[in-house]
C-alpha cells in the first residue's frame, strides 16, 4: 500500500512540471497552448531513444530538454504570431502532427509498438530504481522547478507576462516587444513540460504514441483551470487532487463488469468539471482583476 501511495506521489511529481508549464503559458501569459503535450512527447521520446542507445541519463535529460526547447523555438516563430484561439488550435495541430510522426516513423520510434525497456535513471552513479529513490530524486527536480517558476512570476519578466495576458496592445504600446516575451514564456513552459516527459519515460519505462494525445493536454488544462486561480501553489495542489482521484479509482472495490467503465466515466467527470468551473468563474477568471494580475 505504501508502494502505491509512493507511485501516486511520483506520478504527481511527473505531472507537476507539465502542469506548471501550462500554467506559466495560460495563467501568466495568456497563451492557450492546446499542444502542450507535444513537448512532453518529444522529450520523452528523445530521452528514451538516447538512453536505450547507451547515453547516460543526465546527458540524455539535458539533450532532451534542449531538443524540446529547439522545437518550441522553431514552432513558436511562426505560430506565436497568431492570437487567442487560433494560436491554441495551431498548437493542437502541431501536437497531432508530432504524434503522427511518432506513430509512423517506425525506423526511429518503433511506431505504435512504442519503446519498451527504457532504463531507470542514475544520478552520478547512484541508481534510481526503487520507489522511494524515484520520489526523492524527482522531488528534488520538482522543487527546483517550482522555485524557478516562483521567481519568474515575481520578477519584472513575470509582470510583463501578466501585462501581455491582461492586455497585449497596451503592453506593446509601452514599448514591450510582446512577441519576444511570448516566445520566452512558451520556451519556459516547454522546458517544464519536457522535464515531465523525461520523468515519465524513465519511470514508466515504456512509451508509445498513445501516451501523448490531446487527453494529456486536457489533463494539464484541467489542473490549471482548477488550481491556476491560486497561482503555483494552486496548480501543485490541484495536481495532487486530480492525479490522486485518477489513480485512486483503481482501488475502489468495483465489480469487474464495471471496470471497463471507470476510465470513460472518469473522463466524463473531468469534462463536467471543466464546464462547471468555466460557468462558475465566467466573470473573474483569467481576466483583468484576477488576483494574479496585481501581483
Amino acid at each position: 500500500m505504501t508502494n502505491y501511495l509512493l507511485h501516486i506521489l511520483i506520478v504527481c511529481e511527473i505531472i507537476i512540471p507539465f502542469a506548471l508549464g501550462l500554467q506559466l503559458e495560460i495563467g501568466e501569459t495568456g497563451l492557450y497552448n492546446f499542444g502542450h503535450v507535444a513537448f512532453f512527447g518529444i522529450s520523452a521520446y528523445a530521452s528514451a531513444l538516447l538512453t536505450t542507445h547507451g547515453i547516460p541519463f543526465m546527458g540524455a535529460l539535458f539533450a532532451s530538454l534542449a531538443l524540446a526547447g529547439l522545437f518550441a523555438w522553431g514552432v513558436g516563430y511562426p505560430i506565436l504570431r497568431l492570437r487567442g484561439d487560433y494560436f491554441g488550435l495551431a498548437m493542437l495541430g502541431f501536437a497531432e502532427i508530432m504524434r503522427k510522426i511518432f506513430l509512423n516513423e517506425s525506423w526511429l520510434t518503433r511506431g505504435p509498438m512504442g519503446i519498451p525497456g527504457i532504463p531507470r535513471p542514475s544520478f552520478f552513479g547512484v541508481p534510481i530504481h526503487t520507489l522511494p529513490r524515484f520520489a526523492i530524486f524527482y522531488g528534488l527536480f520538482v522543487i527546483a522547478a517550482a522555485f524557478a517558476v516562483y521567481h519568474v512570476t515575481r520578477s519584472p519578466l513575470g509582470r510583463v507576462f501578466h501585462a501581455i495576458r491582461d492586455d497585449e496592445y497596451s503592453a506593446s504600446a509601452v514599448g514591450k516587444d510582446t512577441f519576444r516575451f511570448r516566445r520566452t514564456s512558451l520556451l519556459m513552459g516547454t522546458l517544464l513540460a519536457a522535464l515531465g516527459g523525461v520523468f515519465w519515460a524513465h519511470y514508466i519505462t515504456f512509451i508509445s504514441p498513445s501516451d501523448f494525445t490531446l487527453n494529456e493536454t486536457i489533463l494539464a488544462l484541467l489542473i490549471v483551470v482548477i488550481g491556476g486561480r491560486w497561482g503555483m501553489a494552486g496548480t501543485i495542489l490541484a495536481t495532487f487532487f486530480v492525479i490522486g482521484f485518477q489513480e485512486g479509482l483503481r482501488f475502489l472495490p468495483l465489480p469487474e463488469s464495471f471496470g471497463r467503465l471507470i476510465a470513460p466515466m472518469q473522463q466524463m467527470f473531468f469534462g463536467l468539471v471543466l464546464v462547471l468551473i468555466v460557468l462558475k468563474r465566467e466573470k473573474s477568471w483569467f481576466h483583468k482583476g484576477d488576483r494574479l494580475a496585481q501581483g
Binding site: G84, D85, Y86, E96, N104, F270, L274, L279
Partner: protein, 290 residues
C-alpha cells in the same frame, strides 16, 4: 490512372460529408464567435442515434432512423446551448472554447460508456461495388452523394429564401447592427444551432455509413471541418462547403504521395499553413449568399 480516379471519387464522397460538418461549424463561429469543440460530438451523436434506431429492438429503416437522429441531435445541441453556451454569451472566446472542450470530453466518453470503445457498423447488407469504368462505387456511397447534395440544396433554399435564413446571415454579418434593425439575436442563435446540428447529424450518419462508428470519431471530423472553415474564410457558408470538398480531396489524393499513416495529419497541416499564410481564407468574399 484508375487509382487516381478512384481516389478522386472517394475524395469527393468524403469531401461532401466534410462540407456538411464545416457549414455547421462556420455558422456557429460566425454568430457566436468561438470554435465549438463539441461539434464533433454532434456528428458522433448523429451516427450513434441512427445506429440505435436501426438496430434491434427498434429495427427502423435507415431513412427513418436518420430522421430520428436529426431530431435527437438538434435537441442535444439546444440543450448544450441552453445549459452552457447561453450563460457564457458575452464571455471571452477562449472560455467558450474550454467549455466546449469539456462538453466534447463528456459526450465522447458517455458514448463509450453506453456503446463501448469498439468499432460498430450499420446493419447494411454487404454488397459489391458497381464498376463505372475504372472506378468502383458502392450503392451506399451513391446514396451518400445524393443525400449530401440534397442537404446542401435545402440549405441554399433556406438561407436564400426564408426569413430565418436571411436573419441568420445578417446576424453573422454584424450582430450589433442586426440588433438595431430589430433582429432578435437569441432567436437567430437558436436557428443557427438547429441548422448546424441537423447538418452535423446528417453528415455523421453518412460518415458512419461510409466507414464505421466509434466514440472518438468526432474529434478528427471536427479538425477536418475546422480546416474547411478556415479554407473558406470564417463565417462564409459557401466557402466552408468548397473547403470541405477540398479537404476530402486532399486527404484522398494526398495518400498517393504521402505514407498512408499521415492521412489524418493532412487536415492539421492545412490548418497550420492557412493560419500562417492566409488567415482570412482562400475563398475571398465573406458571405457568398447576398
Amino acid at each position: 490512372m484508375s487509382l487516381f480516379l478512384q481516389s478522386l471519387l472517394d475524395g469527393l464522397i468524403a469531401g461532401s460529408i466534410y462540407a456538411l460538418f464545416a457549414v455547421g461549424l462556420t455558422l456557429i463561429y460566425g454568430t457566436l464567435h468561438f470554435i465549438n469543440f463539441a461539434h464533433g460530438e454532434l456528428i458522433m451523436a448523429g451516427a450513434y442515434f441512427a445506429y440505435l434506431f436501426m438496430m434491434p429492438p427498434l429495427h427502423l429503416s435507415p431513412f427513418i432512423s436518420g430522421g430520428c437522429a436529426i431530431v435527437g441531435v438538434v435537441c442535444l445541441a439546444l440543450l448544450m446551448d441552453r445549459s452552457v453556451f447561453s450563460p457564457l454569451r458575452n464571455a471571452n472566446s477562449l472560455l467558450l472554447l474550454i467549455a466546449s472542450l469539456g462538453i466534447s470530453l463528456f459526450f465522447q466518453n458517455l458514448a463509450q460508456v453506453i456503446w463501448g470503445a469498439e468499432i460498430r457498423t450499420f446493419p447494411f447488407p454487404l454488397e459489391r461495388g458497381i464498376s463505372l469504368g475504372p472506378v468502383v462505387i458502392t450503392p451506399v456511397q451513391a446514396w451518400i452523394l445524393i443525400i449530401a447534395a440534397g442537404a446542401i440544396f435545402l440549405l441554399y433554399l433556406f438561407l436564400k429564401f426564408t426569413r430565418a435564413g436571411k436573419a441568420i446571415r445578417s446576424v453573422s454579418d454584424n450582430p450589433r447592427l442586426a440588433k438595431t434593425f430589430g433582429v432578435e439575436t437569441e432567436r437567430v442563435i437558436r436557428f443557427v444551432w438547429i441548422v448546424a446540428a441537423s447538418l452535423a447529424a446528417v453528415g455523421g450518419v453518412l460518415y458512419a455509413a461510409d466507414t464505421n462508428l466509434e466514440p472518438h470519431m468526432g474529434t478528427i471530423n471536427l479538425v477536418r471541418a475546422f480546416a474547411a472553415v478556415l479554407l473558406g474564410g470564417v463565417g462564409n457558408v459557401w466557402g466552408a462547403l468548397i473547403g470541405g470538398i477540398v479537404i476530402g480531396l486532399s486527404e484522398n489524393l494526398g495518400v498517393l504521395i504521402l505514407p498512408i499513416g499521415y492521412k489524418d495529419a493532412i487536415a492539421f497541416c492545412v490548418i497550420i499553413l492557412l493560419l500562417l499564410f492566409r488567415p482570412e481564407g482562400i475563398l475571398g468574399v465573406r458571405w457568398g449568399v447576398r
